[in-house]
Amino acid sequence: MKAVPRRLDVAIEVDELRKEFRRRDGKRRGAQRKRVALDSVSFTMEKGETVAILGQNGSGKSTLVRLLSTLLLPDGGTARILGHDVLTDGRAVRRLVNRVSVEASFFKKMSAAENLGYAARYYGMTSKETRDKIPAILERVGFPSDRRDEPMENLSRGMQQKVALARALLTSPVVLLLDEPTTGLDPRSKLEVQEFIREIRETHDSTILLCTHDLAEAETLADRVGILDRGRLLALELVDDLKCRYRAETLEEAFFAATGREFEAEGDDDDDREVFA
C-alpha cells in the first residue's frame, strides 16, 4: 500500500486518535462499561525529534505507544508513521518502528544472544548479518560480553532493559517508541539507560517518542514535552514554553497546573488498561 503524500520532515502524524476499552458491568447482566483511554489526541513529530509524554497511571501513554506500534486498533482518528497509516498499512509501519517497554519481555530461559538472534530474523536479518552486529550492539549498551550466553532469568532488571534497548536498535528503527524504559530500575541502571538514549539521539537520526513518569528524564532528553491526562493531550511544547504557559517555575508545577493533580513518582500505566481490557 502506498503512503499518502506528507510533509517530508514529518515522522509521526496523529490526528484525533481515539481508543476506548470496555468491560462487563458486574451489576447489570449483558451491560458493558466503557472507559476512554485516548480521547481525540492530535500531534505531529518531526524526523529526528525527541518528544517526551508525561502522564500519570492510566493517562493513556501505553495505549498511545501500542496504537503507534500496531498492537491495538484505534476506535477513531488516524495515526501515520512516515505517511503509513497504522490501521491500513500496518506491515509498512512495523518495518519502521520498534519499541522498548517497561517490562523487558524475553524468553527467560534463553540467553541475550539467542533472544536477539531470533528476533532479528523476524526483521529479515540473517545469522551472518547478526553474528557481528549482536555482540557489537550489546557492547554499545554496556552489556558485559561474558554474560551474553547466560539465561535472561539470571540477569538483573537493569541488564534486561539494556538487552531490550539492544533488541530495538538492532533493527535500525526509524521511529523508536520508549514506554517508561527506566521505570523500576535502580539509580545506576537508570542513568546508564538514559545516557544511552541520549547517545542514540545524538548519533542516530531516529525519531524518539518517550513516555515517562520521570520529569527530569523528560526535561533532559526531549526536545518537546507533552502532558497526557485521562486520555487527553493537554499540551505539547518546549519545556520553557510549557512553564511559561502555566506560569510555573518547574515542570512539576506546570504538570500540576495543567492537570490539577499532584505528580505520582512511578507506576504502571497498564494497570488501568488491564481492568478495562
Partner: protein
C-alpha cells in the same frame, strides 16, 4: 518490482527460519522436561497397547501381534497430534506468558509465515518423536512387521500434518480470546478429532452420525493409511483413497485456520488482549 517481491519473500523465509530457530533454542533449554514428558508418553502408550495382551489373557481370540500393532499406531498418532496441537497453541500461550507476544506481533513478519515456522518445527519435532516412540514400543513388545512399508506410513502422516496444522492454527488463537481457558480448548479439538477417527477401533463401530463426521477428520485417513502401510505393506500409490481427502482437507483447513487466527488477532488488538494480565 520483482526485486522487491523477491526481497520480501527472502525476508519472510528468514523470519520463518527465526521461528524455527527460537523453538530449537527453547527445546534445548527445556530438554530434560521433554525427556520426562517422553517417559510419560511411552508409559501412556504401553498402557494402551497392553490391552491386546489383556484381551488374549482373558480368553479373547485375537491376533495379538496385529492388534498390538493396530493399537500402537493409534497411540503414536494420538501422541503426534498432541505434540502438534501443543506447539501450535504455544504460539500464543507461551509468548503471552513470557510477554514476548507483543514484540512478535509488532515485527514485520507475516502471520502466515510466523505460523508456518511454528508448524514446520512442530511437524519435524513431532515426527522425530513419533518414530522414536513407535520404535521403543515395537521393540518392547517384540512386534513382527514383515510387510511394513514404513516410508509410506511416514509420508501419509506428513501429508496429514498439513491438515492437522490448519486445525492447530484455528485452536492456537483461543488463548488470545480466553487467556485462562483457551489452551484447554485445544485439547477439546484434539480429543474430538480422535474419538471419531478410529484411533483404537475401526470407524465402522461408531454410530452412523459419528461415521459421517469421521469423513471430515484428517486423522481418519492418517490412521487408515498408516495401518495399511505398516500392517499390510501398502505402497503409497495404493493409498490414493487416503491421500486425496487429506490434500483436500489441508487445502481448506490452512486458509480457514489463517482466517480464524486473523479474526482472533483483530479481536485481541481491538480489546487489548495481547498483553498478559498478572
Amino acid at each position: 518490482m520483482i526485486g522487491g517481491a523477491a526481497a520480501t519473500l527472502r525476508d519472510e523465509l528468514i523470519g520463518l527460519g527465526g521461528v524455527v530457530e527460537r523453538n530449537v533454542y527453547l527445546t534445548r533449554r527445556y530438554i530434560w522436561w521433554d525427556v520426562a514428558f517422553m517417559v510419560w508418553t511411552i508409559a501412556n502408550t504401553l498402557t494402551i497397547v497392553f490391552i491386546a495382551k489383556g484381551i488374549e489373557a482373558t480368553g479373547g481370540s485375537i491376533d495379538v501381534n496385529r492388534t498390538t500393532t493396530q493399537l500402537l499406531i493409534g497411540a503414536v498418532v494420538w501422541a503426534y497430534l498432541g505434540i502438534l496441537f501443543e506447539f501450535m497453541t504455544e504460539t500464543v500461550a507461551w509468548e503471552r506468558w513470557e510477554g514476548t507476544i507483543e514484540y512478535t506481533f509488532m515485527a514485520p513478519l507475516s502471520r502466515a509465515m510466523h505460523l508456518a515456522g511454528q508448524g514446520v518445527f512442530a511437524i519435524s519435532y513431532g515426527l522425530l518423536r513419533a518414530v522414536f516412540l513407535f520404535t521403543v514400543c515395537a521393540l518392547f513388545f517384540d512386534l513382527s512387521m514383515p510387510d511394513a512399508n514404513f516410508l509410506a506410513a511416514f509420508l501419509v502422516l506428513a501429508v496429514a500434518s498439513i491438515s492437522f496444522i490448519g486445525i492447530g492454527v484455528m485452536t492456537s488463537v483461543l488463548p488470545l480470546i480466553s487467556p485462562e481457558k483457551g489452551t484447554q480448548l485445544g485439547f477439546v479439538a484434539q480429543g474430538t478429532l480422535l474419538v471419531v477417527s478410529g484411533v483404537y477401533y475401526p470407524v465402522e463401530v461408531l454410530p452412523q452420525w459419528m461415521q459421517w463426521i469421521a469423513k471430515f477428520s484428517p486423522a481418519t485417513y492418517a490412521l487408515e493409511g498408516a495401518r495399511e502401510a505398516i500392517l499390510d505393506g501398502a505402497p503409497l500409490s495404493a493409498m490414493w483413497d487416503e491421500i486425496w481427502p487429506l490434500l483436500v482437507i489441508g487445502a481448506i483447513s490452512i486458509p480457514l485456520g489463517l482466517w480464524v487466527f486473523h479474526r482472533g488477532e483483530l479481536y485481541a488488538k481491538r480489546h487489548g488482549k495481547l498483553k498478559r494480565s498478572g
